[in-house]
Amino acid sequence: MNINLTLIGQSLAFVVFVWFCMKFVWPPIVTALNDRKTKIADGLAAAEEGQQAKAKAQEHAEQVTSEAKEQAQEIIRRAEKRETEMVEEAKGNARTEGDRILTTARGEIDKEANMAREALRAQVAALAVTGASKILSREVDAEAHAKMLDELIAEL
């Protein structure tokens, strides 16, 4: 337990260890710790930002979806409207077409009837002439009486 040269030796060892620690141990570790601190802080900030961006994106997506839904609704509504319109149009077309056909048919019928009537009149006239000639028992000059006969036919 004497105080001797060991004291100096210990002091030297102390100086060397402290110097080494100061030069080669402390700075890299503390630098790494500080770097990590900033890295973690940055990471947390980035996460926060990401969360915010996500929320924004969600909001945007919701907006887009609702817009799309609205649009779809609108399209459906328009389609339905167009459908009824088309049906109405078709109905109208069919009606006019029917009317047209009906009118044509009616014209045709009238024409036919008229033709039949004319034919009948002719025949009746012929019959009447024949009848009259028979009744009169004498020859009637058909040509001479044609004017009278025509008037008769027109009266029928």
């Binding site: 337990m1 004497n2 105080i3 001797n4 040269l5 060991t6 004291l7 100096i8 030796g9 210990q10 002091s11 060892a13 102390f14 100086v15 060397v16 260890f17 402290v18 080494f20 620690c21 100061m22 080669f24 141990v25 402390w26 700075p27 890299p28 570790i29 503390v30 630098t31 790494a32 710790l33 770097d35 990590r36 900033t38 890295k39």
Partner: protein, 287 residues
């Protein structure tokens, strides 16, 4: 060992308290001292080989482990050794930040070195007192004191380093004038120049004592605690030669004292570090 017939109880204790001293014998030859008297006769120019060996070994262990961690240190995810080292570094850094308010790149590494180094040296105390000396005896080494902090040379050596730094920074921060004024102009302060001169001797005496008492108390506190702890381990070890009952009692006592001693080992290292920081803080601040 106490069981060997050649050694009495006193001899056993004395043997355990004897450093492996290398120096010049009074007759002019160089060699290892056999016994306390021879070591004393060697005077100042002798060296404790065991203290030097263990303290440098443990200091190198600290440097090696922490350097390995420092090489691996990155901003990425830490693991294993790096985690542990970072924990220690942050603990020391917190303490330095708490007590030291100036800008000095030396203080934190100094505190870290002192804390870990002293802790490692103290921890040698927990190795059963006979193991390493017996091993050394097998290797032909007569004396082996394995706890460097039970050698006042080791604690004084470190405290001396701290003291030199304290004085250096006192002068660097406050100038020679400021440092001298601090030593001579307080605690008895006066405006009158004559009174100032009158107070000077008393002031200087008080301040000088308080200045010198810092390294002395710093080293003696550590030395005293560890020496006492070691002494008790040695006394407990004596029980092992006293029959079965004492053997068991000794075992239990040694275990209990070792558990309690962990606290002292850690606490003394922490106190040494904290006081170093405080002394350097005082050196940096103006009174």
């Amino acid at each position: 060992m106490a069981s060997s017939e050649a050694l009495t109880t006193t001899g056993y204790i004395k043997h355990h308290l004897q450093n492996l001293t290398f120096g010049q014998h009074p007759d002019g030859t160089w060699g290892i001292a056999h016994g306390a008297a021879e070591a004393k006769a060697m005077g100042f120019w002798a060296i404790h080989l065991d203290t030097m060996f263990w303290s440098v070994l443990l200091g190198a262990l600290f440097i090696w482990v922490f350097r390995r961690a420092a090489v691996k240190a990155s901003a990425g995810v830490p693991s294993g050794l790096l985690n542990f080292v970072e924990w220690v570094v942050e603990f020391v850094d917190d303490n330095v930040r708490g007590s030291f308010s100036h800008k000095n790149d030396l203080v934190a590494p100094l505190a870290l070195t002192l804390f870990v180094w002293v802790l490692l040296m103290n921890t040698m105390d927990l190795v059963p007192v006979d193991w390493l000396p017996e091993l050394a005896k097998l290797m032909g080494i007569e004396y082996m004191k394995v706890v460097p902090t039970t050698d006042p040379n080791a604690t004084f050596g470190m405290a001396l380093g701290v003291f030199v730094l304290t004085v250096f920074y006192s002068i660097k921060v406050k100038g020679i004038g400021g440092f001298t004024a601090e030593l001579t102009m307080q605690p008895f302060a006066a405006k009158n120049p004559i009174l100032k001169i009158l107070f000077l001797p008393a002031n200087f005496f008080l301040e000088f004592v308080s200045l010198v008492s810092k390294p002395v108390s710093l080293s003696l506190r550590l030395f005293g605690n560890l020496f006492a702890g070691e002494m008790i381990f040695i006394l407990i070890a004596l029980l092992f030669s006293g029959g079965a009952v004492l053997f068991i009692a000794g075992g239990v006592l040694q275990w209990a004292w070792a558990v309690f001693h962990i606290l002292i080992v850690l606490l003394q290292a922490f106190i040494f570090m904290t006081l170093t920081i405080v002394y350097l803080e005082m050196a940096h601040s103006h009174h």
